[in-house]
Symmetry: C2
Subunit: 189 residues, 2 copies
């Protein structure tokens, strides 16, 4: 086996991972990232985000060749035509994806080879809040439940430690559980 | 013009909208919704959510014909191969989509015909947090900026009121700014 093969675990190049961590430790200013999305309304509950550019490690990214186009919608009962998952469902996807990638990266760093990572997420919502029918229920999910099933070449205790460390480091888990300040401005011409 | 045409504004059937609101006022138990996502790891930073079933208005939805498959990834600098937008970018998309749909629905209810709704979102992140390099920066975005441009057949003041009401009712804006309790459980077999 070549050295290169040995450094890849769970599809993550751990040599590059540790080199990145060392670089950011040495030059903390490289840790400033900015992610972006632009969105455009297409009619009714249909809108589309375009995601491509971001700022990372001291400059604008040039590695992404193509923009991602992501459509949102609502099901019929929420007055849409299912042009895409709805915004609250995308929030569940963001949370699932971030926790999963965190688990995979932490496992790679800790020499755990994973065989599967699956999750099911549910969010409970009383839509009277978002529909403005009743001021009492909040607009968003009252709670979110996440069930992971993680398998790999490590004892149960170690796999649980990996998940716990991933939870502690996940960007979206932090945002969804703790909230983020949002500034909103509007132009009308 | 037929009556049916008159009830559709901004692509939203306002007659159905007001009927839905009346029904939920009369039977608040119909307001209990549950949205779901399942996610599966596909290697490295690549994972995919499947979104289809949800519970709404007293029963399991049967209207959605197809599942949505949504791929996540990371760019090269975050050790991925751009198999999709990254989780934090999906959170920006969820926020943009929810605010946009809220603006469109509020405008429809208030007899404002919109001609365009566009937004740009940025999130600032110090990745030392999520990478576990430094305990000080938080994992997620320190702040999110949302810039809307909204045009339609109403004076500026009315358009601004529509955006402000939408912000107050948006499910994802509520979740992102205020946070949501998340319960996480893990199985390892």
């Amino acid at each position: 086996m070549s050295v290169i093969t040995d450094t890849v675990r769970n599809g993550v190049d751990t040599e590059r991972m540790f080199a990145t961590l060392d670089l950011i430790k040495a030059q903390p200013e490289l840790a400033k990232f900015q992610f972006r999305a632009t969105n455009r309304w297409l009619g009714g509950a249909h809108n589309r985000s375009t995601i491509k550019e971001f700022y990372a490690a001291g400059g604008e990214d040039t590695s992404r060749i193509q923009a991602f186009q992501i459509d949102a919608g609502e099901p019929a009962i929420l007055l849409g035509t299912d042009t895409g998952a709805n915004p609250a469902e995308y929030l569940l996807h963001a949370l699932a994806a971030c926790l999963t990638t965190s688990i995979v990266y932490v496992a790679a760093a800790r020499k755990v080879e994973l065989t599967s990572v699956e999750s099911t997420l549910t969010g409970e919502m009383d839509v009277r809040g978002a529909l403005g029918v009743d001021p009492e229920p909040r607009n968003g999910f009252e709670r979110i439940s996440v069930s992971f099933r993680v398998t790999g070449n490590a004892p149960e205790e170690k796999l649980r430690e990996v998940v716990e460390r991933a939870r502690k480091r996940s960007a979206v888990y932090d945002m969804v559980t703790n909230g983020v300040p949002v500034a909103l401005d509007v132009a009308t011409d």
